[in-house]
């Protein structure tokens, strides 16, 4: 344990990237390509980041499986899926560049599944008009992360693994570095840097039922917030409709949307294919209205419309919840997902090998013969750190962010497949943004020892506390609050209650106590991440209380449906001078004309006269 600030181990790099998932590694590769001395700091071992859990694919309008597809249709789908609350420019950049980013991965060794012409095969997914997801079976995230890792290790990038970043350091208003600790030894470390990129993902661990791993504790969002950056759209938390519901110990683990993309259907306890009853008006024209039409679509008939199981995630999640509420749920409180009745066993094993494996090993269910039981699970945060769409820089000079930890790109609801492409596009753009920023930087910002000392004192507090709170139990309490009052459907009363409870919890968390030394001490790790989770949870609850409508992933029982005036506003959270959390509405301004024209156009005009 360090006792003296002056003796803390110090590294110096041009840029430090916090998080080694897809966004972080892509940003690191780009920073390195710009000639910068680049380091990655990550909580886990390199190659273990949560990107490996992304299963279905990466969305890009390659047009391999349907020549009618192009970036404009992808952009339009993304805006419609996001209920038109997306950051217009980010959604445009994403749609414009995702195809190149996917092709680039192939240059670096990625092996995506092929179509019959030998090109990258593309799979249908919820909310995407055409088969658009480049994929590798149902382990696309692993394929992408491993490709970035194996390419990245030869680019001269320094990797500091099993190291947790705790505090951003600033020289007046500019970023000057990061303070953190090695998880194995518990020793502190300072990374001096001209720029920092946050790519730490979401904060699913605030909820009890989540597809996220322990790493998802919102550290990056908290660090950015605490150093003066805004958080935007925090009320939009995506519940993936299909998580495992049994056994209890795996409740929440993801069942890929690819199951439905490959033809899987949802049934209630009465055997009713209920999604036909939940088609929103906005999508009625583009959705099949009978099992027969869905079947024809599955067989590849281009005039047939898409099955309702492939509606956007918010719609499907709420439909399952309602079926369960009405007493038509499966035995363990979910819905049935059936692929066995739609596809033969060989195809299921080939296209969905890890789902087959996961259900056989963890639930003793053979998905080629039996139905799965599935229910909603907290999966993704649309909201996050507010950034400039072009450069990915936050309002703090030198602080950048990319990937899930940012907000804006996905609006009120993210389409499946748009996350893997998001992290490639915006990781790349963040790297370029850093290059421009450092290129224009005059003198190097300095690390100030009083900031380091304060950060160190905050970090050791739980180890020096007597007779305090158990961090594991406080974490359970947090998850209880969020699952009860800040979940998939919300009310004003419930959110107010959650905010009061979170304030109480914050008080208790100040007195958290852990025993043992700082060497690889999971209770201490838990105590430190608890602080970030509580900040993120409070931001979600406050934003959700402010937004008095139901839009995308944010559903208020006391405010039904989308309200036009709310479509013009984003909710933004920032830290006030007195340390409290402030929340405000920000006018979105009018969309760029050329983008509004695409987003609101009909499909025929976007398909460029291509007919199939």
């Amino acid at each position: 344990m360090n006792t003296d600030t002056a003796t803390i181990q110090t590294f110096e790099h041009d840029v430090v990237i916090i998080g080694a998932g897809g966004a972080g590694l892509r940003a690191a590769i780009e920073c390195s390509a710009q000639g910068l001395d680049t380091a990655v700091v990550c909580k886990s071992l390199l190659g273990k980041a949560h990107t490996v859990m992304a299963e279905g694919g990466a969305a890009a309008a390659l047009g391999h499986n349907d020549p009618r597809d192009n970036w404009k249709v992808h952009f339009r789908d993304t805006m419609r899926g996001g209920k038109f609350l997306n950051h217009w420019r980010m959604a445009e950049l994403h749609a414009l560049h995702s195809a190149d980013r996917i092709r680039e991965l192939e240059e670096w060794g990625a092996v995506f599944d092929r179509n019959s012409d030998g090109y990258i095969n593309q799979r249908p997914f919820g909310g995407h008009r055409y088969s658009r997801l480049a994929h590798t079976g149902d382990r696309t995230g692993l394929e992408i992360l491993r490709t970035l890792q194996d390419h990245g290790v030869h680019q001269g990038i320094h990797v500091h693994q099993e190291c947790t970043a705790l505090t951003l350091l600033k020289d007046s208003d500019r970023i000057s570095g990061v303070f953190g600790y090695w998880r194995d030894s518990g020793r502190f470390v300072v990374f001096k840097a001209k720029a920092v990129v946050i790519s730490t993902g979401g904060a699913g661990k605030c909820w009890r039922i989540t597809s996220n791993s322990w790493e998802y504790t919102g550290d990056g969002m908290e660090m950015a917030y605490s150093s003066g950056a805004d958080l935007i759209d925090m009320e939009f938390t995506q519940f993936h409709p299909t998580g495992m519901v049994w056994p209890l110990s795996v409740r929440g683990i993801l069942v890929t949307e690819g199951v439905r993309g490959e033809g899987g259907i949802l049934l209630n306890s009465e055997g009713d294919r209920f999604m036909f009853r939940y088609i929103p008006d906005r999508f009625r024209e583009e959705t099949a209205d009978s099992p027969e039409e869905s079947q024809r679509w599955l067989e590849g008939e281009t005039s047939a419309r898409r099955p309702p199981e492939l509606l956007t995630r918010d719609v499907v999640a709420k439909a399952i919840l309602e079926e369960v509420d009405k007493g038509r749920g499966s035995p363990h409180g979910g819905a049935f997902l059936d692929i066995a009745g739609q596809r033969d066993a060989e195809l299921i094993k080939r296209k969905l090998p890890s789902m087959y494996h996961q259900f056989r090993e963890l639930a003793e269910v053979d998905i080629t013969k039996e139905k799965m039981e599935v229910g909603p699970t907290l999966h993704y945060m649309m909201g996050g750190i507010a950034v400039d769409g072009e450069t990915q820089m936050t309002s703090v000079p030198g602080l950048f962010a990319c990937g899930e930890c940012t907000g804006g790109m996905h609006g009120a609801n993210r389409l499946g497949g748009n996350s893997l492409s998001d992290l490639l596009v915006f990781g790349w753009l963040a790297g370029r943004g850093v290059g421009v920023y450092i290129g224009a930087l005059g003198n190097s910002p300095q690390v100030l020892s009083d900031q380091v000392e304060q950060a160190r004192r905050d970090a050791v507090a739980p180890l020096n506390c007597d007779d305090g709170e158990n961090p594991y139990l406080l974490h359970e309490e947090l998850q209880y609050i969020m699952n009860k009052d800040c979940n998939i459907v919300r009310t004003g009363d419930g959110l107010e209650r959650a905010i009061v409870e979170l304030h109480k919890l914050k008080g208790k968390a100040r007195r958290v106590q852990v025993s043992g030394a700082s060497q690889y001490n999971p209770a201490w790790h838990e105590a430190l991440s608890l602080r970030s989770m509580i900040v993120v949870a409070e931001a979600v609850a406050l934003s959700a209380l402010v937004r008095q409508e139901s839009r995308g992933a944010h559903t208020r029982l006391d405010f039904d449906g989308e309200h036009e005036e709310w479509g013009k506003l984003n909710v933004v959270v920032s830290r006030q001078a007195d340390g409290s959390m402030g929340v405000r509405k920000v006018d979105r301004g009018s969309p760029p004309d050329h983008l509004a024209a695409i987003a609101y156009s009909n499909l025929d005009s976007l398909e460029g006269g291509v007919h199939v």
């Binding site: 490996v52 060794g109 092996v111 092929r114 030998g118 692993l142 791993s213 043992g516």
Partner: protein, 252 residues
């Protein structure tokens, strides 16, 4: 619910011992769940490395009753209540603390494999590969880098050849490049020399413990060894090389 006894190795690089924990186990639990329960209720400072809890990241490899396994994919109903369940870290690598060991040696081995070197794309900027030509390497690319194969491999574990042999994980990675339809790098000399393919004597222990059921030995290592044999020990090829002065491509 039932009650089990877990015998867990506790200690660090300076030494340690097994400690018994009596704990409740619920229906459907895996070993990792039980370790977390012990951590939350009895041993807050017990170190366990884990991440996805779904068999996809390969972080929670450990030796359970002496067999290298992923704790997140090992169901408790494999064991009877009478069994004491012994859990220890992967013994081939230096322990850091409790169930966590230092696997950095593996990252060093990966650097010995030179980067993917693709042939130029077609004139339309795209690469064409047929699915049947990538099926085999997709099998190798399923690897989640849990290092259970590295742990069990006796060349590394018992013979201590960490200096000469990269282990099964990195031979399948090499095979995924050698058999890649687009890769143009000649990798056979490195497979023999830097990666040490000759050290493997095909006991298939690695294949047995692979949680992804990759045919490590039969599908990757044996074909690599055949490439090496063809290149260096085939007399006809040797004479042909002498006469023509040409080196055959490693990709056939």
């Amino acid at each position: 619910m039932s009650e089990h006894i877990f015998r867990i190795w506790r200690g660090d690089s300076s030494g340690g011992d097994f400690v018994d924990y009596k704990t409740d186990v619920d229906d459907g639990m895996v070993v990792l769940d039980v370790l977390h329960r012990i951590q939350a209720k009895q041993a807050g400072d017990m170190a366990v490395r884990w991440n996805c809890k779904a068999g996809k990241c390969g972080s929670c490899g450990m030796e359970i009753n002496g067999i290298p396994k992923l704790a997140c994919m090992t169901r408790m109903n494999n064991y009877s209540q009478r069994d004491v369940i012994t859990v220890q870290p992967l013994m081939t690598f230096p322990v850091i603390k409790d169930l966590v060991c230092d696997v950095s040696w593996n990252y060093e081995q990966n650097l010995k494999i030179s980067p993917f070197k693709p042939s130029p794309p077609d004139s339309d900027g795209r690469h064409r590969m047929m699915q049947e030509d990538v099926d085999r390497i997709q099998e190798f690319r399923k690897c989640i880098e849990c290092y259970l194969c590295q742990d069990v491999c006796h060349v590394i574990r018992n013979q201590g050849r960490k200096d000469r042999f990269v282990g099964p994980r990195f031979l399948i990675r090499a095979a995924s490049l050698v058999l890649h339809p687009l890769d143009v790098e000649d990798r056979i000399p490195a497979v023999r020399d830097e990666l040490g393919s000759g050290f493997c004597n095909i006991t298939r222990c690695c294949t047995d413990v692979c949680p992804e059921n990759i045919g490590i030995t039969d599908n990757a290592i044996i074909p690599l060894k055949e490439h090496v044999t063809d290149r260096y020990y085939d007399p006809v090829a040797w004479i042909l090389r002498k006469v023509t002065g040409r080196i055959r491509s490693g990709v056939e």
